[in-house]
């Protein structure tokens, strides 16, 4: 019985990339697997109607589910650069900074997070990102701007020599 012909090969070939997107959308692997599973279930429900690029359908569904899942969240975690995450003067400052940025990404509102992932991970244009999320290019622009401003708040805590000026950043 092959109800979902082609799904196995698709996931074998592209599953890791889809999971990577889901991780960036959710912030952790367990939640990413749940998100990917939910997207797969939706694809299965519409299997015979999704005639074209099923990976594109899955990817688009990941974004929409991610936004929907977190839509009701009222309170977001604070980005905390605790003592253990502070960079030592050993040349790993940039690594720590990037780590902090990705952690901050996970605390952004879902739509801002999705837009940043579309623009900077998927490398989509503003028009393409707007098409995926079903919104206007203007919305993508403004959302990107707000999201980056929030991330800059995090990086503002870091001085040019890599030493944080203060601990923590409001999200």
């Amino acid at each position: 019985m092959t109800r979902f012909d082609g799904l196995g090969p698709l996931m074998a070939e592209r599953g890791r990339a889809l999971l990577a997107t889901a991780v960036l959308l959710t912030g952790n692997t367990a939640a990413a697997e749940d998100l990917l599973q939910a997207a797969l279930e939706r694809l299965m429900r519409h299997w015979h109607r999704v005639r074209g690029d099923r990976e594109a359908y899955l990817r688009r569904t990941l974004y929409h589910l991610a936004i929907d899942d977190w839509r009701g969240r009222r309170r977001r975690r604070e980005v905390s650069l605790d003592a253990d995450s502070l960079p030592a003067r050993d040349g790993t400052e940039a690594l720590h900074l990037r780590h902090a940025l990705v952690r901050a990404l996970a605390t952004l509102p879902p739509r801002q997070r999705a837009v940043l992932v579309l623009r900077y991970w998927e490398q989509l244009t503003e028009a393409e990102a707007a098409q995926v999320l079903g919104c206007s290019v203007g919305t993508i622009k403004s959302t990107t701007s707000r999201a980056l401003a929030r991330l800059r708040e995090v990086t503002a805590a870091w001085t040019s020599d890599g030493v944080p000026a203060r601990k923590g950043a409001r999200s």
Binding site: R3, G8, L24, T29, M44, R98, L116, W121, L151, T155
Partner: protein, 266 residues
């Protein structure tokens, strides 16, 4: 420092070497089957309404049930029974009695269905062989005619439900699409515990209102559903149909032969 560049680099580092910790495709397939299996087994529009009601319970739709004395709320207990029943093959025995006008003989239907293989059948034992019989073989649906021949319907089916081209008024009920089903589920009603292993439910789906009982077997699976339905805007009137559906021999192997004498449909 360029935040965008650092963010891209951070993203790459974050997902480098990432892999799944479980079989997501397998889990999605199982859940998909669980969610869709029960409503596949519905037969009449009323049966579909029932399946919709039960399905909605598992999905958490509907108003909150009043407090109950049993440890587990009835809604949760019934949802658990649905979950343990819906992905299994079983045999079906259905008795449909139309009550408007009164005095009609009940219609008997028997069959079996395996949601894992999209295979099953429904037969009217009191009619001529083949008449109105449904055969679903690996997702291909055949509808029997009074002369013993079969139509093969185009497309792929995951259900034994087919109302025919004349039943356009039942469009919202006859869809096999899960999203449309969810629309039918919006007005699902209440569940109360009648006794050990028995629950009473009410539901309103579109123009129909259902009320009836669900009985569980010794293993917590649904063994029998009896209910009646009426048009919701005539809720104080008499019911228009009573349905008695028995599900048994869970896990049975379902094999259905493709009809030999098949003619195009339409």
């Amino acid at each position: 420092m360029n935040v965008e560049e650092e963010l891209v680099a951070g993203m790459r580092e974050r997902v480098a070497g990432i892999h799944t910790t479980r079989d997501v495709v397998r889990d999605a397939t199982r859940r998909h089957r669980r969610r869709s299996a029960l409503w596949r087994t519905g037969y009449s529009s009323g049966a579909l309404g029932l399946a919709a009601a039960l399905f909605a319970l598992t999905a958490g739709h509907g108003p909150t049930t009043p407090p109950d004395e049993v440890p587990d709320p009835p809604r949760i207990a019934l949802a658990a029974a649905v979950a343990s029943s819906e992905n299994l093959s079983c045999k079906l025995r259905i008795l449909i009695t139309s009550t408007d006008p009164p005095g009609q003989e009940p219609v008997r239907v028997v069959g079996a269905f395996d949601p894992a293989t999209d295979t099953g059948y429904l037969v009217y034992p009191d009619r001529a062989p083949g008449d109105a019989e449904l055969r679903l073989v690996d997702g291909v649906l055949y509808v029997g005619r009074a002369d013993g021949r079969f139509h093969q319907l185009s497309g792929r089916y995951e259900t034994l439900i087919w109302y025919g081209p004349a039943a356009k008024s039942l469009t919202s009920m006859r869809s096999t699409d899960a999203d449309s089903l969810f629309q039918v589920l919006r007005d699902v009603g209440t569940v109360t515990r009648v006794s050990a292993g028995r629950y009473h439910f009410t539901a309103t789906n579109g123009p129909m209102a259902q009320a009836g009982d669900v009985t569980l077997d010794g293993e917590g699976r649904i063994s029998r559903v009896t209910y009646e339905w009426r048009f919701a805007d005539e809720a104080r009137g008499r019911p228009v149909q009573r349905v008695d559906m028995t599900m048994y021999e869970y896990g049975t192997h379902v094999t259905v032969e493709r009809p030999v004498d098949v003619v195009p449909f339409g």
